[in-house]
């Protein structure tokens, strides 16, 4: 859209109300519970018809997990560390011996070993790896959670669109969920202290009946106000209140005790395991995006002890989640991603640690439109550089979006300015898309 079209003549004055009205009518047959929406006007969301309902669980390995102790081991070289590499279910592909369960499931998973993302500090690295690009002066981009929420959320959704868990305090500030220029509608429901969201439960001081009836009174008053008035913001205000009851009802989704003991045992007793199980409950109920922050992988010292402790937990939880999704027939609808702000140096420092390293590191994607068993990118024998099939943050995000069925080259508009979902000139990797 060129700025010149802002001439403001009557011809261009397409009625927002008329347009949305038509959309709402068309959608009405598909969705049962849209009562009241047309009296109250509709938000910008109403114009989006959701085609497919893919969902994402992002396991965010905060602080920077080591590629050498996970997906790109270099055993036998001086900087390789103490762990061996083991064969996987994909012939010729080896991963760290700390991940035996994932090794058996490698044919379901895609790993990228050729990440060169250049930014090696936590804040900017995390911002880059949650958005696929850096914020520019004057424009804050939505993160992947906000994008998936906006693209996949259903109009009539009774559940949250965008949920983040980040219980540890280390590094939380670096990786805050952020809807950028999309605004509060797509901002995450952030869980930091407990596994149940705030303000989701009715207070003890009010009865269920009063809670319901005052919401009805609110509708009565808002309908009076909406007569002869229309605005997208007004629509979003009423829609937000329309969603309250559904979100409150979704409280049980966050309650892990609702799962059979057998399932809970399978995931394991750790907080990370429980949150991952909750994430599975959420995506199963239609939540488009859940991120679980697992901190703190930042091993400037004692890299090997830390990874020996944390990688097996990741391996177990990830494998269990992938199995669970398969058993539920969700493997094509839900993508499981592991990602950090960066990887770790091949060089081992004096404290037996590995430092920040963004030049040649790895991540994984499983299901949800990603080709299983694919490995993309190669690093040199020491792991210092990418020797083949280098991938930057933009390409990774383009691939991820394309696999989810989101056109990575689509434009959003900030005022009249078109802002493509990924930067211009960036292409997805077709070979990784199922």
């Amino acid at each position: 859209m060129r700025a010149k079209s802002f001439c403001g003549s009557v011809d261009h004055a397409i009625s927002r109300r008329g347009f949305l009205g038509a959309t709402v009518a068309a959608g009405a047959s598909a969705f049962a519970d849209m009562t009241g929406l047309d009296q109250l006007g509709s938000s910008a969301l109403a114009s989006q018809m959701k085609k497919n309902q893919k969902r994402v669980i992002l396991l965010w390995l905060a602080g920077g997990a080591s590629q050498l102790e996970t997906f790109d081991p270099k055993p036998g070289v001086q900087t390789g560390g103490p762990f061996r590499a083991i064969p996987t279910s994909v012939p010729g592909v080896h991963i760290s011996e700390l991940m035996p369960q994932m090794a058996k499931r490698m044919h379901k998973t895609c790993i990228i070993r050729g990440l060169n993302t250049k930014i090696g500090d936590h804040l900017n690295g995390a911002q880059l790896m949650l958005r696929g690009r850096r914020n520019e002066a004057g424009l804050k981009y939505p993160d992947i959670g906000a994008v998936v929420a906006r693209e996949m959320a259903r109009l009539e959704s009774q559940v949250p669109d965008h949920v983040t868990f980040y219980t540890q305090t280390e590094g939380r500030y670096y990786a805050l969920g952020d809807a950028g220029f999309f605004g509060a509608r797509f901002a995450p429901m952030e869980l930091t202290t407990e596994n149940r969201p705030g303000n989701i439960r009715r207070r003890d001081g009010i009865t269920a009946l009063d809670h319901q009836q005052r919401a009805d009174l609110r509708v009565l008053l808002s309908q009076q106000f909406a007569k002869g008035r229309s605005s997208s913001t007004l629509g979003s205000h009423n829609e937000a209140y329309e969603r309250v009851r559904g979100i409150m009802a979704s409280e049980t989704l966050f309650d892990v005790t609702q799962e059979p003991q057998k399932v809970r045992d399978r995931y394991g007793p750790t907080q990370f395991a429980e949150q991952t199980l909750i994430a599975r409950r959420l995506v199963e109920a239609g939540v488009p995006f859940v991120r679980i922050g697992r901190a703190w992988w930042d091993c400037h010292g004692q890299n090997f002890e830390t990874h020996q402790e944390m990688v097996p937990e990741l391996d177990h939880v990830m494998a269990t989640l992938i199995d669970d999704l398969h058993e539920r027939g969700l493997q094509d609808d839900v993508m499981v991603v592991t990602l950090s702000e960066f990887g770790r140096t091949p060089r081992i420092n004096a404290s037996l640690g590995r430092d920040h390293f963004a030049s040649a590191w790895s991540m994984s994607m499983t299901g949800g439109g990603i080709k299983g068993g694919a490995v993309w990118g190669k690093t040199d024998p020491l792991g210092n550089t990418v020797s083949d099939q280098e991938v930057n943050a933009g390409t990774l995000f383009a691939t991820l979006y394309a696999a989810l069925g989101i056109n990575p080259h689509k434009n959003y508009y900030v005022g009249s300015r078109p802002v493509p979902l990924v930067d211009e000139g960036i292409e997805e990797i077709d070979d990784l898309i199922a």
Binding site: A3, K4, F6, G8, S9, V10, H12, A13, S15, R17, G18, L45, N135, E136, A137, G138, L139, K140, F181, G183, A184, M189, N199, I200, R201, R202, R203, D210, H211, Q213, R214, A215, L217, R218, L220, L221, S222, Q224, F225, A226, K227, G228, R229, S230, S231, T233, L234, S236, H237, N238, A240, Y241, R243, V244, I247, M248, V414, G415, S416, R417
Partner: protein, 542 residues
């Protein structure tokens, strides 16, 4: 040579800025000029404007826009009941003379200076105290611009103005864009990597030209400092690397021998200065030639000041009317003309001719008939926003919302019993206590979308229940303890929160509810109050 050729092109392009039609005479009142210009376009296109808003709506709108809160019931009653033909101008003057005006305008300017299109509000609040002092002292917009851009850390009154630059000194790309957006209405960031694809005005030379004025600014220890020389180089999309000149957005270039790279000695000296600043806890001395000061002087020169004047006028207009004469606010260039070019030029000229006096322009806009139109438009297809034919819904800012919640839930009789001065003090104290609460809400931008977190917060948080739904002494719910007649109770509730009488549907719906809740009447009042506070009528300036 090359740069000069570009300058020439720019001058031609900016000729598009010159008014195509004769401007109305300078001595006409602002409000008259506004209404003539808006009316002319409505008439030319055969668009019918909405009628004027009623008095209760107008005092609510004016009070929210000028002092950032809803009016108390006694203020509304006095205004609606007055038969004084000059009551609107008197109200505007009273509000603008009140401490709330300085408080709220400082807040709004702070948000404007520190937000981007993306709503990056992390820097908000940093210059609010400075702005309050400046506005209370009657400073004009050019003086505020000078204080912010050329801060004097030794002057206690303007000291905190330094935070505007300091927050950005480490990233001079960001500084360049923020200064261009905040003061000139131009987002040059697109031109950082390539000439702007759509806008002939914006070349890479503009971004790096503006950057050349600001790139010498840096942080020394905890102080702001500026180098005496510097050279910005950039790689054009085609051809070899180029050196930028100090070039303003109009294409005007400041020639200076200081446009050069620092010598090795100078670089060493800078490091020493930083160390010394840290040790002495004192800012390094200012350079003999300040590039930043050159930018300020140039931007305010008569032939150059159209960017400076037009941008702030457009922003004031946007804030009061809910839609700019130029939209988006940071895209003021020749490819994106104003909806009413002659009006914008007249307002910018008037603003400049009256010494960049913000008060005068604000007062003129809110006295216009254009400002006071009803926001109700029964037509199926409403006219485009750029006609300003219908009042626009504006979501309350976080501070407006927090302050209004506090006022709406007080006992209106308390305000009514006070002398005006006392009432003003009481209101200011209520409002200043609302700042922490405001942090729960998001600053609205264009096409603002309210999220479910806000609805959950109002629905289920302890804070809302305890702070606004209690019936302690001095509260509206406390007053309602003595009211038994349902119609009287509903009337008091609706009048206090909305400043108007309930309509028939509301009266019926709310009294029916009370009739079903006779077992627990105080609880029922509480639920009605909650519904009034969360319904859309409370959430918007309308």
């Amino acid at each position: 040579m090359l740069t000069h050729r570009i300058t020439l092109t720019i001058v031609l392009v900016f000729a598009g800025f010159a008014p195509a039609v004769e401007l109305l005479p300078a001595n006409k009142p602002i409000e008259t000029v506004i209404d003539l210009a808006i009316q002319a376009r409505l008439q030319a296109d055969g668009v019918q404007p909405a009628p004027q808003a009623d008095d209760a709506t107008l005092i609510r709108r004016l009070t929210l826009d000028l002092v950032g809160r809803i009016p108390t019931l006694v203020e509304t009653d006095d205004y609606v009941g007055s038969s004084d033909p000059n009551k609107r101008a008197k109200l505007v003057d009273r509000l603008m003379a009140s401490p709330g005006f300085v408080r709220f305008q400082a807040e709004q300017l702070d948000v404007m200076l520190n937000s981007t299109v993306a709503g990056d509000d992390r820097r908000q609040g940093s210059v609010r105290n400075y702005l309050r002092t400046a506005l209370a002292d009657g400073k004009t917009w050019d003086q505020i611009f000078r204080d912010l851009m050329l801060p004097n850390e030794d002057d206690p009154k303007t000291k905190s103005a330094v935070n505007f630059l300091k927050a950005r000194a480490r990233d001079t790309d960001r500084l360049t864009n923020d200064v261009s957006v905040a003061f000139f209405g131009v987002n040059v960031s697109c031109a950082q990597c390539h000439d702007h694809p759509l806008v002939a005005d914006w070349k890479q030379d503009h971004f790096y030209g503006m950057k050349s004025f600001l790139d010498r600014t840096y942080e020394a220890g905890n102080f702001l400092a500026e180098r005496g020389a510097g050279l910005v180089k950039f790689k054009p999309t085609r051809g070899p690397e180029r050196s930028a000149q100090m070039m303003f957005l109009t294409g005007t270039i400041v020639d200076s021998p200081t446009v050069r790279e620092l010598t090795k000695d100078e670089q060493k000296r800078e490091k020493e200065l930083i160390e010394k600043a840290k040790q002495d806890k004192k800012a390094p001395p200012a350079p003999p030639f300040s590039a930043r000061a050159q930018l300020v002087e140039l931007a305010l020169k008569p032939k150059e000041s159209q960017f400076f004047a037009r941008s702030i006028v457009n922003r004031l207009w946007y804030r009061l009317l809910g839609y700019g004469l130029v939209m988006p606010l940071d895209q003021m260039h020749s490819e994106n003309p104003a909806s009413h070019p002659a009006l914008l030029d007249w307002l910018a000229r008037d603003f400049r001719d009256h010494g960049y006096n913000l008060r005068q322009t604000i007062r003129g806009i809110v006295l216009s008939q254009t400002y006071s139109r009803s926001s109700i438009d029964p037509r199926e297809i409403p006219p485009a926003a750029s006609y300003f034919a219908v009042g626009r819904l504006k979501p309350l800012t976080p501070m407006q919302l927090a302050a209004s919640l506090r006022i709406a839930t007080r006992d209106p009789a308390g305000f009514a019993g006070m002398k005006p001065d006392e009432r003003e003090r009481q209101i200011e104290s209520l409002v200043s206590g609302a700042a922490g609460f405001a942090a729960y809400f998001e600053e609205p931008g264009d096409d603002f979308q309210i999220g479910v977190a806000e609805a959950l917060f109002f629905s289920n948080s302890d804070r809302i229940a305890q702070e606004f739904l209690n019936n302690h002494g001095g509260t509206l719910l406390g007053r309602l303890k003595t009211v038994t007649d349902p119609r009287e109770a509903v009337t008091l509730l609706v009048r206090t929160v909305y400043g108007r009488l309930p309509n028939a549907d509301e009266m019926k719906g709310l009294t029916d509810y009370l009739a079903r809740r006779t077992d627990r009447t105080p609880e029922a009042y509480k639920q009605i109050l909650w519904a009034l506070l969360t319904a859309s009528e409370f959430r918007f300036t309308y």
